[in-house]
């Protein structure tokens, strides 16, 4: 189950590229769907005058949609293994510009994890200029893996400290308030004992995720459960971007557990 460096790099690039491609297509669709966001209002939040003026130019309809098309093309290039340092820098800068366009985040955690992946990609390419490529990627994948493991660990730990999670009540309430909710009246998740069992399952699994680094087989198991978990998060909360953003970090976890 060991994942060597070349395979880990390819898997990481393909999954990150795929995640970026799906996001870019969604952003292009949002140009027509969104009637609330208005840069003429939002620009007031940018405190630096010259940055505000520069963003005024970049967020006009043509340059902005051009940037999204370019992002999609670079995501495809990344998937095909043709993204060099220039692409890594551009993808990182575009992620930053898109975040600013959406007042710091469009989709919360998935934006943050996408930025972690892009920072890893940027690290690998920038460090390659100073050291050999293998070392650079080694550092980059460790960066991505530690961030991803931290996300699970923190998420599990903060739940452990909350009585409503320990009792299972929070799970039912959040599912009831989810975008695809509310839960049907006879849903299994309304049973307090099952809700508590599920909650403890998540808390323990998330809190113990850093143990994945001990062994590649353990990492594979943790990542498989994580994929199912993120699918369930999508199924109930509609968070499709979370699924792909976190999946793109799994090659880094598997590689670090194999190293």
């Amino acid at each position: 189950m060991n994942l060597d460096l070349p395979l880990a790099i390819r898997a990481f690039e393909i999954l990150l590229g795929w995640s970026l491609l799906l996001q870019s297509i969604e952003y292009l669709r949002l140009l027509k769907l969104d009637r609330v966001g208005d840069w003429r209002i939002q620009r007031a939040e940018v405190p630096t005058t010259w940055v505000r003026h520069m963003l005024d130019l970049l967020y006009r309809p043509m340059p902005y949609s051009g940037m999204l098309w370019l992002r999609g093309a670079l995501a495809l290039a990344l998937m095909m293994g043709h993204a060099g340092p220039g692409s890594a820098v551009l993808l990182f800068l575009m992620a930053l510009l898109i975040l600013l366009r959406w007042r710091g985040a469009f989709n919360g955690g998935s934006d943050f994890m996408t930025l972690v992946g892009l920072t890893g990609l940027l690290l690998a390419h920038v460090l390659s200029l100073f050291t050999d490529t293998a070392n650079a990627w080694h550092v980059a994948l460790w960066y991505v893996a530690v961030q991803s493991l931290s996300s699970y660990f923190v998420s599990g730990w903060v739940k452990l400290m909350r009585p409503e999670w320990r009792s299972g009540r929070a799970l039912t309430v959040f599912l009831d308030n989810a975008v695809y909710g509310p839960l049907p009246a006879n849903s299994l998740y309304r049973q307090p004992q099952l809700a508590m069992l599920c909650s403890w399952g998540f808390i323990v699994w998330e809190g113990l995720f850093p143990l994945a680094l001990l062994d590649a087989r353990l990492a594979a198991l943790f990542c498989t459960v994580a994929a199912v978990f993120h699918f369930l998060v999508f199924w109930f909360f509609g968070l499709n971007r979370f699924f792909w953003a976190w999946l793109s970090t799994f090659p880094a976890i598997l590689y670090c557990a194999s190293a």
Binding site: R29, G104, A105
Partner: protein, 186 residues
């Protein structure tokens, strides 16, 4: 060989120390650092606190006026959309709806943090929520799903919105903000 082993042990120790520090840090009360750039660049400092606890949840409510004195009922603007398996690949309408709910939560935070003598109407979040409320009363939708569950069926001349704080899992709610009556442009 010894050097490699020592380096690996050191790496393992560092990782262990990092997660131990993380666990201890999470138990302490977090200091909130604020600033316009920190808000816009918060993606660089993720806290990974997803669905961490049941707290007050802000909700947007709107009502429309067809002619002076004739108001519709208050209705919540809260994202509820039908699930589709294809959303795993392409889900712009749900993601947009969720970003609108985030906007309402940002407005609630801005109201809470509002400085004395400051006017909430100057806040970007207030102005954007006004646009959201305006869109909702004028039959706006998230793709094919209307923002209001029971569209009023008349042409509104003006509208009003309210931010209410709901305590998830408990009965009752509190009013956080009531907007003035806002005329709609013909």
């Amino acid at each position: 060989m010894d050097t490699i082993m020592r380096a690996m042990e050191l790496t393992a120790l560092l990782i262990l120390a990092y997660f131990a520090w993380l666990a201890v840090a999470l138990r302490k009360r977090q200091r909130t650092v604020q600033g316009p750039w920190l808000f816009l660049l918060r993606a660089f400092f993720p806290n990974w606190h997803f669905f961490h606890g049941l707290g007050p949840a802000p909700r947007l409510w709107v009502r429309a006026q067809s002619q002076p004195g004739q108001w519709s009922n208050w209705q919540a603007v809260y994202p509820r959309l039908p699930r589709q398996a294809s959303h795993l690949l392409h889900n712009p309408s749900v993601n947009l709806a969720l970003s609108h709910q985030n906007l309402v939560e940002h407005l609630a935070t801005d109201i809470h943090d509002l400085a004395e003598n400051a006017d909430i109407r100057d806040c970007v979040s207030y102005q954007l929520v006004t646009r959201l409320a305006s869109d909702a009363v004028q039959g706006g939708s998230w793709a094919d799903t209307p923002m209001l569950q029971r569209p009023d069926g008349f042409t509104p001349q003006a509208f009003q919105f309210e931010i209410r704080l709901l305590h998830l899992g408990q009965a009752g709610e509190a009013q956080l903000l009531l907007s003035p009556v806002i005329p709609l442009r013909p």
